[in-house]
Symmetry: C2
Subunit: 134 residues, 2 copies
Amino acid sequence: MKRNTWQREAVRTALSENENFVSAQALHGALKQSGSSIGLATVYRALADLADEGEADSLQQEGEALYRACTPGSHHHHLICRNCGLTVEIEATAVEDWARQVAAQHGFTRAEHVVDVFGLCEACSRLQADPSSS
Amino acid sequence: MKRNTWQREAVRTALSENENFVSAQALHGALKQSGSSIGLATVYRALADLADEGEADSLQQEGEALYRACTPGSHHHHLICRNCGLTVEIEATAVEDWARQVAAQHGFTRAEHVVDVFGLCEACSRLQADPSSS
DNA sequence: AATCGTTTTGACAATCATTCTCGATAACGT
DNA sequence: ACGTTATCGAGAATGATTGTCAAAACGATT
């Protein structure tokens, strides 16, 4: 049976306080900073669980897993700033259909897909164009 | 200046002999099997170079990087069998456009995207439906 | 073909994220 | 409150990838 522990709740809370994708390590660091005594392994476990249960989205960047609280129950993708990490949830009905269709065309079943868009957000685009204003 | 060594050539060749995505470790193992004395670090370096130069595609799966020779100069995505690794290159013009458009809508510039579709290929679908025939 | 400056290699150590281990702890049903 | 048993925490273990550095290989030039 699954139990409710303050640790899991702490991770859930810490996650939803972050607008953007965070690594398990970073989240653990933040929790420790704010006085929690939670263990690193526990953060990893809690994040994996949350991702399984659909309460968090995850993606791989530079060899590490990043997590983010997500609006549960809705399938969506992300538009992520490569520089500052700003993340926007995006709907992609058209892409869902396309993926399913392409898979079917090639005889594939059980299609899932990974779709993420990276770029420079408006602010970071400006910074890059005019570095003096940083 | 970039030099041509038999090691790099060996990696390029080994890659193109594999229809599917392979890990650096696996590729190194295969090369050793066939009598090569190439070092593991060299395989990692060669693969990173090939990916940079657009001669190979790469993706992350279960915490490890997988590589695959790709038709150079063409932007494409992949349809990958979750079970046997069979890979099909797919065109995704519609998705390209969608990605660019979504990024622009949110003020993002320099949009890039990660789009991969995973599923079970025809053969593996059958196996799963009727495991007795394996 | 021999030489020289530079790049690349390979063996192994180092790193780093993540997972495992296991005794201790705490949740939940009774 | 009690006993089960899932979960925790600390640190060890794992496993992929990268760094180090002396030795070897490359390629342009004699």
